[in-house]
Subunit: 536 residues, 2 copies
């Protein structure tokens, strides 16, 4: 009644790719030396086969279908076949503990799980705890099938082979659920975030937009971030939507082969956690390989050290753009790109200005920083506030109604982060609320302090945690992983922090030298573990 | 019940600009020498004032509010204030004939029209034909008010001055109408295309996407295309959505001052019809001004001559990207950007490949090319088909139910264009159906022939039209505007076309030398006029 009634969702993306970008390639690195390649036309045909196969399994509309899989073309086919047949794509994180894996499979009630051959074992270990699972589809052909096991199994290729390469277009209400991801559960049990066709589409548009990752038809996109981790930050759906070439790397990071892949496939944009980019920098230095096509790297998950960003800028001429989001926000919610009037600042000043895991929300997303009294804190680069977020791809509840207290009465999601907003509108994550150091009634941002310490030449990694203190309530302790062969003292850390502008009362009273920072299943610093380790 | 219920629309854009991009500038060139500038924070405050003023005028929800205005900050405020108060922004084309202007105002039943001081006269001329109009708001302050006239008048500044600078947020159903544009009406009466909040938002996202114009926070956007012409191709809403700087040029193209504006404001992207870029090229050559910030020009409305694109590429290092759309498609529906695997072709080969007013549809838009039998024609660069389009910002009917025969039973809009699709999926507009030359049962594309003739050194402009022919039904006639001091013969034209690969039977039998190609109110070649001129 004015505008065509177009239901947003995965069908729209798949049909567009087949109709208009049929000739664009999808490349999967299968071993360190071999690559699989096919076109979007091939992808669509196999996806239709899989859709027919899913129907033949008797799965209901709205059922969750699990995947325990790496980034590759078969997982890509699942990304479309499951939601396009009105089922829910439930991506399982391959790095979960057995307990969490069992908990999540039970909560989602998965009956069918698509699993990589090398990940079937993780399911075997918990086979007696996941009674709902009736079939495991092994991502490969019959040669990849395990000899025996506790589950009924079929290979992916055998499953789809008998089925037709087409499937009738189906109009799906855009508010139908399409995907399910669980939070990492560092506090309490993991909770499910359920995405709809509409939110998946709008998130892909946000991710692909020039305010997000600017993914267009001329791009070759390599998501290092796993497809089992919050939709690979939206890059997969965004690439298919615009007909960008998709490149999937070998799942176990092998910097040499990874850099060759970036070069050979003329990758233009890639995204992943900071750790990846640290290793890639070393390899680029060592090999002297140039990547003139790589126009941008997006870094998310945690704040990359400032010297790393400067190194990519100066040594490799590649900008690193910081992005922020959470499972609850699909996840991509904001990026730190220079506004037009900041673009021409001297390079270090610019880096200072936009150095923020946070930045400016994408169109469609709004954030609010609130003091404990609920009032908006000023955008002055000083005041910390609790970070609230709302928007077109933010959940309004958890799967099965859990975690109700995370949603405000005025329609925001309470992130559990504390952030600061500067006078140009950029926000910076200061801390997880529970990781904030509360000293003498004032808050100290552990994230800012870690970032500064990681800027020291001798430091490989650093995490700052609070320890109880009789006088001040809490005081910060710096846990430091020195670079090989380096030493570091408390005095050096304090001096460096003073140079970086930290006030005296915030300086740590203690440095702990550690071998590695413990991490969660999604690669974030696990401060709960660290804290208990240094206080015991 | 999963994802937050976010209604897409102009409120979302306005709130985002105020909350997150409050410091970004909007610049309006008011005279050849003076510029007005303010921030998005100022813009939002004045927009709220205007919203309160509109309420005070007693306009109903859903009423059309006319604008007869140039590209400037007041028109920008109308772009938000009218739809954010649930009224419909009805942009009137300042280049319409008095008859069409009266027809359209009556059809839309505008009671209030916002008009530039210099355009009030156009309304005066038809004052006795537009009884619905009760108030004309003159875009300026009281000094701009005409001494007397047929209408009740108030200046824009006086209208908003008494009102408050804030306005309570209002949740508007995204399917509510937001804007109304009329087709140019080269065939029959103009018809209204009604856009919704949702379509306006999705179109802005499409326009801003990297498949569209790739508009991000680091951009300064200068829409040369008028805001009265099909939403300035979506650039205004896209810029506000992502917090790009907006720059509005003086409405009467003055190449010298325009080029200075591009340079001074560090404009990164601009868009308009080919004629503009022809004049700007001359000025860039003459002045030797460099525009290192201008990363891209988007050209639409008609096909730019290939030598113009090559000139910008080689002489100024600025890519010209072709875009296609119609009032019925909001308008931006497709762009001709190189796919990743075509990027590295030799430059002239690349230009040949993507030289198409058409290209690849934006995500959310699908096209279909159908023979007269309704079957899809092959994508072989040879077969012509009738162009059908559907998608999230394509109308499904005209205002007041007119033109029902333009919509297919399977949900497409019949564009009235004929197009060809090549083997990489790019489509090229061959012609308007009614302008196609039908010779001996075969179709000849006048657009392709015009493009080729405009590639000749002696030619300023060229239009090819059909004339009746006893033997062949129709034959093409080339109407040519030579460059000053140049001559051109039929023989030269035929030789050139043979070199460009046209088969002999398509070559024109006649050349007409003309002073200028007649144009419609939106700047397209008016072939109806031309045809009647040369057949009489």
């Amino acid at each position: 009644m004015a505008i065509m009634n177009t239901q947003l969702g995965t069908w729209l993306m798949l049909e567009h790719a087949l109709t208009h970008n049929f000739d664009v390639e999808v490349v999967t690195q299968q071993t360190i030396d071999t690559r699989h390649r096919y076109s979007y036309a091939d992808m669509a045909k196999r996806t239709y086969q899989l859709m027919n196969a899913l129907d033949s399994l008797g799965l209901e509309r709205g059922e969750r279908v699990g995947t325990l899989a790496w980034n590759n073309y078969r997982h890509l086919e699942c990304y479309f076949a499951v939601p396009c047949t009105e089922r829910i794509l439930h991506t399982l994180n391959a790095r979960l503990s057995p307990e969490d894996l069992a908990y999540i499979i039970n909560d989602a009630e998965d009956r069918v799980i698509f699993a990589e051959p090398e990940l079937v074992e993780a399911l075997e270990k918990i086979s007696n705890q996941i009674p709902s699972v009736q079939l495991v589809v092994v991502m490969g052909d019959d040669s990849n099938l395990p000899k025996s096991g506790s589950f009924q199994m079929v290979s992916y290729e055998s499953l789809i082979a008998p089925h037709k390469e087409d499937y009738p277009y189906r109009e799906i209400d855009e508010n139908t659920p399409a995907g399910l991801c669980y939070t990492s559960g560092t506090t309490g049990q993991p909770k499910g975030a359920l995405y709809t066709h509409r939110s998946t589409y709008l998130h892909a548009m946000g991710c692909g937009s020039a305010a997000g990752m600017s993914i267009g038809p001329s791009d070759a996109v390599l998501p290092v971030v796993p497809m089992f981790h919050a939709n690979a930050w939206g890059m997969v759906y965004a690439a298919v939507s615009v007909g960008a070439k998709l490149v999937f790397a070998y799942p176990h990071l092998h910097p040499e082969s990874f850099v060759r892949l970036l070069r050979d496939e003329e990758v233009t944009i890639s995204a992943g956690v900071p750790t990846v980019w640290i290793q890639v920098a070393e390899e680029l230095s060592r090999s002297q390989i140039k990547l003139p096509n790589l126009r941008e790297i997006v870094s998310g998950g945690s704040q990359p050290p400032k010297p790393l960003i400067a190194r990519y800028r100066d040594e490799f001429n590649i900008p690193i753009i910081q992005a922020w989001g959470m499972t609850e926000t699909s996840p991509l919610a904001s990026t730190a790109r220079p506004k037009h009037h900041l673009r021409s600042l001297p390079k270090d000043e610019l880096l200072d200005k936009v150095y923020s895991q946070g930045g400016i929300p994408l169109p469609g997303i709004t954030i609010s920083l609130r003091g404990d009294d609920g009032a908006e804190v000023p955008a002055d680069g000083q005041h910390m506030g609790n970070l609230f977020v709302k928007g077109a791809w933010v959940i309004d509840s958890y799967f099965k109604g859990k975690g109700k207290d995370s949603f405000s009465s005025d329609g925001y999601f309470a992130t559990g982060d504390v952030a600061i907003k500067n006078s140009e509108g950029y926000f910076v994550i200061a801390d997880r609320t529970k990781d904030l150091v509360k000293s003498g009634g004032e808050w100290i941002s552990s994230v800012a302090m870690e970032g500064a310490i990681m800027g020291m030449e001798q430091v490989a990694e650093a995490a700052v945690v609070a320890v109880p203190d009789e006088k001040w309530q809490e005081r910060p302790v710096a846990c430091i992983v020195p670079k090989p062969g380096c030493n570091i003292t408390l005095e050096e850390v304090r001096e460096h922090l003073i140079k970086e502008g930290f006030p005296k009362w915030q300086l740590p009273d203690r440095v702990e030298i550690i071998d590695a920072v413990p991490r969660t299943s999604v690669g974030k610093f696990d401060k709960k573990v660290l804290r208990s380790r240094i206080t015991n």
